[in-house]
Symmetry: C2
Subunit: 230 residues, 2 copies
């Protein structure tokens, strides 16, 4: 009875009947069988957002890179490693009423990833890594002609001139909102438990005070619900 | 009383009074404030070795890169991130009766790590990463004239021609033993719970059957104890 009540509570709410896609965590881009390029995203913010949306009754598809953070509960989890795999999982997850791209996707992959471990050859020569640009998941979905979610939310992790960079990013990508934050090491935000974000939309921006990542998620989920909720 | 008995049991054993340095885990080499180069070492094998040595009564200094695996108990843990930091912690941890270098240390670091996040500049141009060779911790300690541990054990994670590569590595580095293993993705060893190793020493080599990483650790600790134990 308690379980049934909890399930009803989870499935009920302003986002009942809505499907929302959330990406989260870092991507890993292989260099060779043992080495890869990673980033410091823990997946904490994306996980909190998925949880908050599920709490408002949404059906959530959660596409996660290899994150340290435990996966959210009550959502459909799809685990991926690379940016290319993440895009494929996102395409598979559509259609959705909204999409929140909280993952820190690698901009580049190693074009010439090696099938065997790259070794020092004793010559003192250093390896050269050639990069290729990864697919831009946010722009790809934002600019879809058919099957674009009604609300597309991107993230911008910046280290300087945060609001200007994020405003330009919103226009360039074609998404509806950008959640911008300052991930300079001295803020302790990347990998930490708090976040200080500015939400950028077509009418300007609103800066939220620094708060826990779950509080940021709850506030963002409430705003999403205002737009697409029943 | 139980605690005291356990402590006695831990401190007692054939390695009582011996100090052993163990390195473990990957290193992370920063590219910019949010990106880094990593490797797939989980720290599981190094952790098991530290635990096994402590179980035989050794005082263990455990120098660990950013590993997913929980830290071993009953040892002195020193956490580091980069290869340069690991070398500094190792130098600080000496003298030792034996040293076991189980960490998967990055051979290279990014010479020109950026203080701010590297961004796509819209030109389509790709970033160029310049590398510098990292200090060779195993060779540095193996070739010490003063203060070299009586027994220096290295690891060789190879993807092909494992025994030949590892035998050459033992001679090149000047360590006493090499624990060689095949980390090809299809073996599932890197990040997995089992290991299949070949121990290479100056009299040739011995291949051990595939077994759990704790069993590998117990067997290695017993062999170390035969050489340096009281």
């Amino acid at each position: 009875q308690i379980v049934a009540a909890v399930e009803d509570a989870l499935l009920d709410g302003p986002l009942r009947g809505k499907h929302i896609l959330v990406t989260s965590g870092p991507t890993h881009e292989p260099i060779d069988p043992v080495r890869y390029i990673a980033n410091r995203s823990s997946g904490a913010q994306g996980t909190a957002i998925a949880q908050a949306l599920a709490g408002l009754g949404a059906r959530v598809t959660f596409v996660s890179g290899p994150a340290d953070h435990p996966m959210p509960e009550g959502v459909d989890v799809v685990r991926v490693e690379t940016a290319a795999q993440m895009l494929a999982a996102v395409e598979q997850g559509l259609p959705a009423d909204a999409a929140v791209f909280a993952a820190a996707v690698a901009d580049w992959r190693v074009a010439s990833a090696s099938d065997s471990k790259i070794k020092k050859d004793g010559s003192g020569a250093l390896p050269v890594l050639e990069f290729a640009e990864n697919p831009d998941i946010l722009a790809t979905v934002s600019q879809k002609v058919e099957g674009r979610p009604a609300l597309v939310v991107g993230f911008a992790a910046e280290t300087d001139d945060v609001i200007n960079h994020a405003t330009a990013k919103r226009q360039r990508k074609g998404c509806d909102w950008i959640v911008a934050n300052d991930v300079s090491p001295e803020t302790g935000i990347m990998g930490g438990s708090e976040n200080a974000v500015t939400l950028i939309h077509n009418d300007g921006s609103e800066s939220w005070p620094r708060m826990g990542k779950q509080a940021v998620a709850d506030r963002l989920a409430a705003k999403i619900s205002e737009v697409i909720g029943g």
